[in-house]
Amino acid sequence: MKVDRRSFLGLGLGAAAGVAVTPATWKLMDDSSIWTQNWPWTPVPPDGEVTFEDTVCTLCSGNCGISVRKINGRPVKIEGTTGHPVNDGGVCLHGISALQYLYDPSRVKSPMIKTDDTWKEVSWEKALAHAAEALGNIRKADNANAIACITDNDKGTVSGLFKRLTTVLGSNNYYTMDTMEKAWATTIDAVNGVKAHVGFDLKNSDLILSFGSGFIEGWGAPVYNFQVNARRKTHGIKLIQVEPRLSNTAAAADKWVPAKPGTEADLALAICGVLITKGLYNKKAIQADDPSFKAFAKMAQEKYSPARTARTTGIDVASIQNLAMAFADAEKPVAIAGRGKGDSAGSTREFAAVYALNCLAGNINAPGGFWLMDKDPAEVWPSIEMDAMATQGFARAKFVETDTVDSLMAKVTASAKSPVEALLVYNANPCYSLKNAKAVTEAVKKIPFVISFSSYMDETTQLADVVLPSHMFLERREDVSLTGPVPLDITALTRPMVSPLFDTRHPGDSVLSLAAAMEGSVAASFPWESYDACLEAVKAPVWKALSEKGSVVKEPVSLVKKIERMDFSLLLNDTAVVAAEGDEATYPLVLMPVDNIRLTGEIAASPFAVKTVSDKVLKGTDSFIEINPETADQLRLSQGDEVTLTTPVGSAIVKVNLFDGIMPGVLAMAHGLGHTMAENPYVGGKGVNVNALVGPVMDAISGLDAAWGIRAKISRV
């Protein structure tokens, strides 16, 4: 038998026919199509019981209520808690991506000690002993006051524990980072000599006159404001935005008033002048024969006449008068201040001018108005024990009088040997978020011993000697007080949503362990077995409600009786005008840092949030500066050109983004980029940190950083 072509043909046909009459072909067709729809390498999340647990987001000062969706106990999604007084079911893009902070690659996974610039993971006992020894040596050298501590704010029991630790160690050098809330508090204190919390009843107002506040770009309690913005149409709330740049808030406003940067206070005073001239202020709220008001009225009418102010601000006379009329015509107008997100302080003069405007409107503690509140922290702390070293140290003068980290760092920079010998940093990243970040970094490098309690290897933690890593907020129980300017007094409880992923501790427990390791009076001042026990004891007045409901919402205590009338004297001198650093001849332009809702300040934004940033702000690893096409023409620049941006404090290579919405001669650059977190490639190394290009300008009254920008120049690379 000869095997030829026909044999093969027969073989092939036979095989085909044979297979065709079996189920194999048809079954394989089905199976292969299913296979293509369920690629085996595509991860399939495990199915299971769905549960929701409520906690509070502490990524910003808004403290939104969040509900964590879990599958078989594993958190998979974050939603806003319906009915929560701050956010009522809403949530921002940072809140929904908070789970990414849990799995952040730059998380510090265990305590670490740095020797010769090399990190080594160590046990908690070893790290605590190392830190306690260093602090003990400083105390033994009778230099306890050289121990300083920085926290984000002084609210709640965790900050309370840090403050207590600083005190019992023997130091009065406890500082908090600047915020709009702090600036408002210092302003009210400077004007009326009263400690107050400020809130704005925006939901019930009918006209919001915003002086540079990024009302829908993360200002204060962001989600609360998104919801106010949504009410604008249904409740007829008008928004007027005073800002040199067409921000998202300005674009969404009913009117945009592009005043020159840094002249917001002038405009507010001019509006006050017009209201006084036309007698359109609330006569009940103002005592006409009050000498400070009389002097203020004269000054506002003369020095800040519309004609003069038109020249300063670039806003024409008619517009100034129209603004004043709109404010006077509104039934429940409210003026707000605090630049961008309100993550930084600001000029006392500007805040006081806006306060004056609200006083003239007679809206202090009125519905839809400006609220001055007394918030009771409802905390009971046991007495402390101070040994001789502590008493001696505490009696010494504080390094800087005002509670501002900028000044502390300036003092370290100015001294040949750092007066601060040990620095404790919790929930703050001064090496990134303070202005002139490079100088701050150098200052921190001069401090011999730095202990970081951060959950992440952020810029400040990179310079630490010991890291006692904290659980991140989804892993811990903690009381938080709303600091956003909302007219509510809310204390809420965060709850652990997940068991800690790494060998971290609750920061409260870290303080207790550190104190225990210090022994003596330091240990004795912390009588609690654990942070949980401390929380329950200290928050005893509200603990039942707090632990059962998760939050205590109180009507704020009005301070309107305590502050009968505004004292206008503070506004009578001009010593507190905040000018941009740098001379105009060398630096013909002005650089303004701007806040972007998609980016964050203190803590780096999540990978998801960074992905949503426009490629006109960040493209690849390049930061962009906004420049008016007219200015760009003069400098012969076009879209995407690479330029060197130089300011009196630094320079960086950035790209040009032509933007009609920015005033000629002004440059804008987004905050929140240029993190150097090498472990987190999603955020680290992307863009330029604008804080490294802008220096702080200390306010003459409050001592807080009031810089709104800096003079700058650009040249082609």
């Binding site: 026909r6 044979g18 189920p23 072909t25």
Partner: protein, 224 residues
């Protein structure tokens, strides 16, 4: 006319009448014969492989961690929903978790070897039993037990058959290509079914939906 042309012109006649020898003819016949033979052989091999070998090759067989007697539990506990219950939010709990079993089986209750394994290996070690689920649908399919059992008042047997009456667990057969359980396609390799519970493919859902609701339904109802 050249010699070559002449040959070619006459060639056809030659080849028909004289050019092909008897030997050549015989060879040609056997060529076709071999082709047929090969055809038949290949057909037979492929046919038999397709019917006998393929179904066995397509599925891998896995045993459950230990045997479970549904009949016994139904008798002791009552209906299916004693263990396969609906959660408070209406979602279906599916295969019970260890915590549920432990309610009764904190210690060995009966005298079967399987229960001894269960208590020793899982209850005492607080380990979930890695049951292989015969009716597991892929992640791209959304199915609400509540809509069918509570809403449409269907009984479990309609889709799951008489598993509640079984005393042993059959081996779990996994499709090597798709990773699905064999119960989705059905035991019959052609996909033919006699009972509503013999198959759990999309067409089976559609068939019932068309019968009961007049429409096969839209894609997004299940593929969300």
């Amino acid at each position: 006319m050249s010699e070559l042309e002449e040959k070619t012109e006459n060639g056809s006649t030659d080849s028909l009448e004289m050019g092909v020898s008897e030997e050549q003819k015989a060879e040609g016949d056997s060529g076709i014969g071999a082709g047929v033979l090969f055809f038949i052989a290949a057909f037979a091999v492929c046919f038999l492989s397709g019917w006998l070998l393929f179904p066995n090759l397509l599925y891998s067989k896995k045993e459950q961690p230990f045997n479970f007697n549904h009949a016994l539990h139904v008798e002791e506990m009552g209906g299916c929903d004693s263990c396969h219950y609906f959660r408070e939010d209406g979602s279906f709990a599916g295969v019970p978790k260890l915590a549920q079993c432990v309610d009764c089986h904190a210690e060995v209750m009966g005298d079967t070897e399987d229960e001894a394994v269960f208590v020793a290996e899982y209850v005492e070690k607080e380990k979930e039993v890695p049951w292989l689920i015969y009716s597991e649908q892929p992640d791209c399919v959304f199915f609400s037990h509540s809509a069918h059992v509570v809403g449409a008042q269907m009984d479990c047997v309609s889709c799951h058959g008489h598993i509640g009456e079984s005393t042993t667990m059959k081996p779990y057969e996994e499709n090597r290509i798709t990773g699905y359980s064999r119960d989705i396609w059905g035991k019959n390799i052609w996909g033919f079914k006699k009972n509503s519970w013999d198959r759990m493919k999309m067409d089976d859902c559609a068939e019932c939906h068309e019968k009961e609701t007049g429409s096969k339904g839209a894609c997004f109802q299940c593929h969300k």
